[in-house]
Amino acid sequence: MTQEHLANIKLGEPEETLSMNPKKFMLWLAIVSITMMFAGWTSGYLVRKAEGRWHEFEMPQIFWYSTIILFVSSISMIFAVRAAKKNKFNTLKTAISITFVFGLVFLITQVIGFSDLIENQLYFAGSDVAASWIYVLVGLHGLHVFSGLVVLLVSLVSSFKFTAESKNLTRIQLCATYWHFLDILWLYLFFFLYFNR
């Protein structure tokens, strides 16, 4: 093995790529494309803001809580993966359920955030572009969280079925990568909106 490894280094042959799981790699590429989408929106936001006539207002307070909620769900996802690796099914079930429930609560807090905006007469449609942008950024992130919840649900169901195949572990790892990405994406959007009101 070490000999092979050395040989590969000499040949400039990346050995680990030959054995890397293509699904994980593809997920990373998908994450790149989602990142580019949000990069497009946030830079559009900045370009528009630089043009002036911009309505500055406070973000709904509840977005602070939703940030913490999603962060916690991401942490429990870490524990879920660890448990899955050690075949600790009870811990896995608890951790993955916590992640799922917190993810659901996150979506609910985002909706409450929207209703707070509406109470302050900040609507999606209409001529207040600054408000429209918040709905777009938060709403489309929420849409991705929804897709993450669907994937999470599949892992949740399969982890309750006590099947200890490696395929299952891969699924949970894929799920975790996506979920952490959604958490980091939200942190980015939250601080982006906080500093670029």
């Binding site: 040989a7 590969n8 890397m20 990069a39």
Partner: protein, 627 residues
């Protein structure tokens, strides 16, 4: 026996592999997960789309060249779009828009990179199939769905989208702005959304396959340049198409949900619209962030195909292999930071304009490196003029003559004068449209024997090439003059312009139109050759062009999984043509250095010691298919 070996190596890996030979028609030819079938699906869809896109250009060329012509004879096809023997003005705009959309996205993106990335990546890197055959299949069928929707939009009562292929708001954002901005525009956006999803799924697969599924010994520096080109193309698509999706989504919100991202202070029919605060220029920024890389998404695969064909048919190693990779990498990176040169006349800060001008002109450097390398590869080669080779040389010619005007247009001061004239039309049709089309044709002629196991008729290929090559120059070269004279693009008629000065160009417009009709008609030669050869062509030998790359080591018609036995290992680069000392004029990539002591260079003799290590990777390679 051969099949048995394949199943033995793969039995535990592809659970469904053994069922393959009993696959029904639907799974084999329609919902196929085999990259070769998907490539053919893309190719045939692309050819069909090219016919429609080309036919549209002929109709609007009739209007431009012969404005007084009676077009009643087109009524059976166009119906109510012909009024009193004249083309409806709105439909002219729709034709221009759909011609652009179809050619850029459906023919030269899906038809070119969809066909050859799918076909060549697994075959040339030595993989059994794409990283995910299922996602690959989905990619085609999302493209198919996008095609159906775009095609359906041609038959709506208000006509298809008509605001130009760039669909700038407010024209595209307000359904009441023009007939095509109604249902046609909605269908355009829906179709393009599916198209983007299709391209992303395809691109993810291409990148993943190139990185993960190379055969043993196939290091990045041994990859054929085709694969490098497809790899960069996929990266460009992966990074830029999502931004187009972002832009399109905001446009959808403006159209259907009452937001004002792109709309501000607009009057329609004297009535002020409620939308305030948006920025139409923002759309242009987002659009061209895709739009410019899109040019290279279209062109790079053609350049990669050309590198391969020119080296093979010059019987010489490609000149400057690493410089070719470096210049493609340079083009890929520069593609993302030059988008605003499409927007010099939007009133942007002149300083910003000069930055984008500077970056734009830098692209001339890698482009020139590529052009020089093609010419130096041809220099003193034993050139074999196959139809594919002629189309490749044609590409180099078009790339240079179209690229030169790019230097002119890249200058902000000159572009202000030439923006949106026929000069621009001539420039991008030569450098991107025709050049990429020539790459597509070269690829079809060159890899047809591998795709269908048959040879295409050579003489028909020559006729097709000369008619197309002369035709393309006759169509687009005069357009430079028309553009310099100030003719704006996308205009329905010039009769009312410039106090009769424009009449001087009536003859030239007529000439362009006749040339366009002849060039379009000449494509029939290709279609006949293509269809006839699939069924009745001569059976191809295993390696008809004496090429070094791996796809020619597969059986004449590759089986599912591409190689019946083990995948061959790779020991050398793809360009060992006419190597001094060697008895044969080409040495395939899978021939080890130990077998060719007479032609090895000193450093290649050192490589012999590592050949065993490459062979030892076989187990790892087989296990990589067990995921």
């Amino acid at each position: 026996m051969a099949t048995a070996t394949l199943n033995a190596t793969d039995a535990h890996t592809h659970e469904h592999e053994h069922e393959h030979h009993e696959l029904g028609f639907v799974q084999k030819y329609i919902f196929s997960e085999d990259h070769k079938t998907i490539a053919k699906q893309y190719l045939i869809s692309g050819i069909i789309w090219a016919f429609f896109g080309g036919a549209m250009s002929i109709i609007f060329r009739l209007q431009l060249g012969f404005p007084d012509m009676d077009l009643t004879w087109l009524k059976p096809v166009l119906g109510q779009w012909i009024v009193d023997g004249k083309l409806e003005k709105e439909f002219y705009l729709a034709l221009v828009t759909m011609h652009g959309t179809i050619m850029v996205f459906f023919v030269l993106t899906a038809g070119l990179s969809g066909t050859f990335s799918n076909f060549l990546i697994p075959l040339q890197i030595g993989a059994r199939d794409m990283a995910s055959g299922f996602i690959n299949m989905l990619s085609y069928w999302f493209f198919f769905l996008a095609s159906i929707i775009m095609f359906a939009s041609l038959f709506t009562e208000t006509g298809p989208a008509s605001g130009g292929w760039v669909i700038y708001p407010p024209l595209s954002a307000l359904p009441q702005a023009m007939p095509g901005s109604g249902l046609g525009m909605t269908l355009w956006l829906t179709s393009m959304t599916f198209f983007i999803v299709s391209q992303l799924m395809g691109g993810i697969n291409y990148i993943c396959t190139v990185i993960n599924l190379r055969t043993r010994g196939m290091s990045f520096t041994k990859l054929p340049l085709t694969i490098w080109a497809f790899f960069f193309t996929a990266i460009l698509g992966l990074l830029s198409f999502p931004v187009l999706l972002s832009a399109a989504l905001l446009l959808i919100f403006d159209r259907s949900f009452g937001t004002s991202f792109y709309l501000s202070e607009i009057y329609i029919g004297g009535e002020a619209l409620p939308n305030v605060g948006g920025s139409a220029i923002l759309y242009q920024h987002l659009f061209w962030f895709l739009g410019h890389p899109e040019v290279y998404i279209v062109l790079l695969p053609a350049l990669g195909i050309t590198s391969e064909i020119i080296a093979t048919n010059s019987r010489k190693p490609i000149f400057g292999y690493r410089a070719m990779i470096g210049s493609m990498m340079g083009i890929t990176m520069l593609a993302f930071i030059v988008w605003a040169h499409h927007m010099f006349v939007t009133g942007m800060n002149p300083f910003l304009g000069s930055v984008f001008m500077f970056l734009t002109l830098i692209i001339a450097v890698p482009s020139a490196v590529k052009a020089f390398n093609y010419i130096t590869t041809l220099w003193k080669g034993n050139i074999i003029f196959t139809p594919a080779m002629l189309f490749s040389i044609g590409l180099v010619s078009l790339f240079i003559s179209g690229g030169l005007t790019g230097i002119i247009l890249g200058n902000a001061a000159l572009d202000i004068n030439l923006h949106d004239t026929y000069f621009v039309v001539a420039h991008f049709h030569l450098v991107m449209g025709a050049a990429s089309f020539f790459g597509l044709m070269a690829g079809v002629y060159h890899w047809f024997p591998k795709m269908f196991g048959k040879m295409m008729n050579k003489n028909m290929g020559y006729a097709h090439f000369w008619a197309t090559f002369i035709g393309v120059y006759c169509v687009f070269f005069p357009m430079h003059y028309v553009g310099l004279a100030g003719f704006p693009r996308r205009y329905y008629s010039f009769t009312a312009l410039g106090n009769g000065r424009m009449e001087a160009f009536i003859d030239m417009n007529m000439f362009i139109s006749i040339a366009a009709i002849l060039t379009f008609t000449a494509q029939v030669i290709f279609v006949i050759n293509f269809v006839y050869s699939i069924f009745k062509g001569k059976t191809a030998p295993q390696n008809p062009w004496n090429s070094t790359t791996l796809e020619w080591t597969t059986p004449v018609e590759p089986v599912h999984g591409n190689w019946p036995g083990e995948i061959p290992a790779v020991y050398r680069w793809a360009y060992d043509y006419s190597k001094p000392g060697s008895a044969v004029d080409f040495i395939p990539q899978n021939v080890p250095y130990s077998a060719t002591p007479e032609s090895n260079l000193p450093e290649e003799n050192d490589e012999i010691a590592h050949e065993k290590d490459i062979e030892d990777l076989l187990d790892i390679q087989n296990s990589s298919y067990s995921h």
